[in-house]
Structure formats: C-alpha cells, structure tokens
Symmetry: C2
Subunit: 325 residues, 2 copies
C-alpha cells in the first residue's frame, strides 16, 4: 500500500526550527540591551477550560522558555475579571506581550476583550489597527517606516509554511511570489480565514474562500482606489461548486473547528499541497494518495510567529522610547 | 375592558420632542460658527435589504432634515466595497458623522467594519475607545476633560427614556439616581444589552441581564480596582429563575430580535415600567393590565441621541482644531 503513496508529510516542528536560531539570538540581544537584563515577558490569559486552548497554552510556555523568553500563565477563574486583569497587564511595564486564549464568552464580547489588549503588547496581532493595515497592505505604523505593523499570527504562520513548501516562488519579485497560484481556504473567520485570504491575494494568488454559506474569490485589487484585495461572490457553498474550485486549487488549506468534519479527498487535485490549521484533523487518512505535501497541523509555527511578533513589539517600544528621549 | 386597564402608553415621539429644541438650537449655532455656513452632514451607509435597517434609514433622514442637519444615504450594492466607502467618508472633511446600518455580513466582519468608522465621526458611539470608557464610567477623552466621550446611542436612549419616566429619581445625587431600582434587560448584545446593563448598574441599579443561555446580575462594583460595574452569574435561563428575577424587577426592558418572541405578561410585576427596544413587538397586547407605563418602541429617541452625539463630535472636532492652532 504505502509504496503507491507519493505524498510527503511535513511536520510543523520541522518548519518551526528554521526560526529558532533567529529568535533566540534576538532575545539574547534584547536581554543584553536591557538595564535589568530581564528576559522579555509574555503573559497568557486563560479563562476557559477548552482543551485546545489548554494545549496551546502549554506549548506557548514550553516554546517561550526553551527560547529564552519568560512566560506567565494567568488563569482567570471568573471571566468577568478578565478585562481588569488585561488592563493591569497593559499598565505593567514588566509585561512585554499579552495574549488571551479564546474563546472566553464565545460571542461578540470576545471581540471587545481582544481590543482591550494594548496595541503595544498585542503579540497575536489582533488589534484593529494591525488588521486594517493588513487588509490594506500597509506594513508600517508610522510615516517614517520605523515601526512595523504586526500581522495576525496564524495567517502569518500559514504564509511562512507556504514559503517553506516553495509555493512562494523566490524567482518572482516580492509581493508577487504567489502569482498564478490558486489556493482554497476552507474557513473565513475574522481570526484566520479572511485575513489569510487577503494576505495570499495581496501576494498575487487567486484565493477561493469557502465558508459554511458561500464561496468567494479573493484577488489583488489593482483597479481599486486603495491597495487592497478584491472580493467576488462565486455562489452558495454547494458540492458542485466546492468540488470545482477545490479541484482547481494548487493549495488546499483547511480550518474547520469540528471533530466530525472531513474534507473530501476526491476534491484534492493530484499533487496539490494540503495544510490543516484546525485543532481537529480535517483530512482523511488517504490525503497523501492525492497531496504532494501535507502539513497536518500548524500550531508550532504559529507560536514561532507569536514570538517573532513579540520581538517586533519590544523593538517598536524601544524605538518609541528613543524617539521620546 | 379598557376601564380595568391602568397602564399608560408613552410614545417615543413624545419623549423625543423634549430634545428637539436643544438640538435645533445647537445646529443653528454650529452653522453660524462655520465659515461656509454648511449644516452638519450625516452620512448613512446601507448595504443590506433588511426592512428594519431601511425603516431606520428613512427615519434618520426625516429627523435629520427636520432639525436642520444634512443627511446623505449612500447605498452600497456590493458589500465588499463598503469598507473603502467608509474610509473615503472618514477622509472627507465635509462629512461630520458616519453611521452604518447593520447587519452587513452578519458575522464578526461587521465588528471589523464598525471599527473602520473613524472615532471622530462615529455618531453611534460604537468605537472601542468609547465602549471601554463607557464600561469603566469614564466620561471624557482627555485629561483636561474638554472632549466628551460618546455613548452608544440605543443604550443612551434607554437611559433618557428612564429619566423621562421618572425611574431616575432627581432627588438622589447624579450617578446614584437608580439606587434601589431593579431592572431586567432581556438582551445581552454588545450593541445594546450589555452596555445598557453596565450604564444602569453604574447609576446604582441592580440589573438582571438575560440572554438566551443564562441570567447575570450587574451591580456597581464599588470594591473593585476600577470604577466598573460588577457581574455575577445567577444561573441558566430557565423559566423558574426568569420568572423570579422579572417579578422582582421595577423595570423590564425587552430587545429580542424575533417576530415570534413574546415576553410572558404574567412575569411582569404589578405597576412595573415596561420598555421594548426591539424592532419587533416583544410584548403581548395585555401588557398594560400589568405595566404602569409602557413604551412600545424607542427608535425615535435613539435617533435624537444619534444627533446629540453628532453635535458632540462636531464640538470635539472644533475644540481639537482650536487646540492645534
């Protein structure tokens, strides 16, 4: 059986390793630059008992400590005190980065809480300013281009995975390295799917964005007034249309938050690249009979991106302090 | 039959009238102060065909024009162009206020779009900065207390209605005029129910906040580190608990967005004040057999508050310009 399977599995840990050295060196430099020689401190807030969040928290802690960061998990027994705890951490100069393990309330109150995290410490890149910059392809916070805008860490991780897998072609100019590539993204959440579709379209890809209701096409919006991706409705999410766009896709990225969902293997084009970022296994075991490269999970790369974001935030704060002095 | 009914219906239009003169005079003053004598311009964005939104848009236009404002409805055929249209209006110095008729996408993308509206033109008071100030009882944007923070207009309208109905007792000091009052709010959306519960708790009330899942109690959080309301879970939203808290309530405020929902009249305490802010009629016809005062809809007061917010925004912008000069 296995001799007929051409596909190769690439583990997130393999991809994450590429970033370890760069991150560890930067952490050391920051510690040296600091008067008190303190390691950058990431504070995680956990106010639920979701197993995915619990496991994500554990991995963040492990990765942080192995790379020279400090990490502190603050468990919040009463969700209604979470907001004040975040505000305290915003004000605490000893805290360099803040992340919240969502869902907390599982409704719009979570979006409110996200925005309570100070922009200067938002390692996940979920602040509205960062989001709006990302959707509009704006890379810096200031006109002098000294302060970098932060990208949301899961979409950023998926971009880095596509770079590792050589879906990004480095022979093409930066900003166009996905030119000609077609990507299906099975998720359109505000946290991953929609920003991811925008990022890939901004790099030249045609993206089929699939959510439970309908299928949209994201492309780079060159004719628009703003440097923003363009969105076109293709139709309802019906099997015929879904099969058509998926079979057309060079890359399939799944992120369905359900243990029961399985992406139909027969919709995968021979030799396509398949990536799953859901906590649940969205692909059937026979995925490698079709896929050339298969990445079964992405969490470890996401944590790397989170730590890279944290380094950027620390550097932004250092630059801001210098500008004030 | 009608002789046994003690309750009185108070129409939103009656309450709205109290604010007409104040608003009209301020508009005239602004027009006089302006070099080009232009009336303040409110731009409304409509990107759906929801009948409630359509009717709200019509009423905003009518009220605006009758009070001396300019109003422009911008219909957006393709939802995906809404963001750029909002950004254009943000940048256009001729636009004083912006509002979006939600829902647009009906998911988290709507919260993203809300935050795209510039804080300086957000007549609905939905910007995160205004929300966080409201939840924390902070009334000004600056330390010198010259720039007023904006309150979300529907919760603000409900506060003004409770003032009109004398539920607020002016013999008590400001900030404590609901002391001893119990209010049940049947809705806990981020747009109305939760901010309303916080505002009423901050004025001294005990608020039973009811959503589809559970019932919470909001009180003023005097023992907390921040001047913020306190929230306590009372239990699941089961008929026994719901009846208990509603029968304890001096005021019942309903906002269930469904044509089929009816609040059980038998849960209303004899002589209670009843207000419905849903577009749908949440109360049965026999409500006045129990309620002393009944306000069947609140939209016209909301529009007044929207225009009052707009005046504040215009004044804030004038003050900011003076500070820069």
């Amino acid at each position: 059986m296995s001799s007929t399977v051409a596909g190769r599995t690439i583990l997130a840990s393999t991809i994450a390793k590429c970033y370890n050295q760069e991150i560890e060196e930067k952490v050391k430099e920051i510690i040296q630059r600091r008067e008190n020689h303190a390691a950058p401190l990431l504070v995680g807030f956990l106010a639920n008992d979701d197993p995915a969040a619990e496991s994500y928290a554990k991995w963040t802690e492990k990765t942080c400590k192995s790379m020279g960061f400090n990490y502190e998990l603050r468990r919040i027994a009463n969700k209604d005190f979470l907001e004040e705890s975040i505000i305290e951490a915003n004000r605490d100069d000893a805290v360099d980065g803040i992340m919240v393990y969502f869902p907390v309330f599982g409704n719009a109150q979570d979006q409110y809480l996200q925005q309570v995290v100070s922009m200067e410490k938002d390692v996940e890149g979920l602040n509205h300013v960062y989001y709006q910059n990302m959707y509009h392809n704006i890379r810096y916070l200031d006109e002098n281009k000294t302060l970098k805008s932060i990208l949301p860490c899961t979409p950023l991780a998926l971009v880095k995975i596509l770079e590792f897998l050589k879906v990004y072609n480095v022979l093409l100019p930066e900003g166009n390295r996905l030119y000609g590539k077609k990507v299906a993204v099975i998720n359109r959440s505000e946290i991953v799917g929609r920003p991811l579709a925008a990022l890939l379209a901004n790099d030249g890809a045609t993206v089929y964005s699939v959510d439970i209701d309908n299928i949209q096409k994201f492309t780079r919006g060159e004719g628009l007034k703003f440097s923003k991706h363009q969105v076109q409705d293709l139709g309802d999410n019906e099997p015929v249309l879904l099969e058509k766009v998926c079979k057309d896709a060079d890359v399939i990225i799944t992120g369905v938050p359900s243990p029961n969902y399985k992406f139909p293997t027969e919709y995968i084009k021979e030799g396509a690249v398949v990536i799953n970022f859901s906590f649940h296994k969205n692909l059937n075991d026979d995925v490698k009979e079709k896929a050339s490269l298969y990445v079964p999970s992405t969490g470890k790369v996401t944590i790397c991106m989170l730590l890279r974001n944290m380094l950027r935030l620390v550097e932004n704060r250092e630059k801001l302090k210098q500008q004030i002095l």
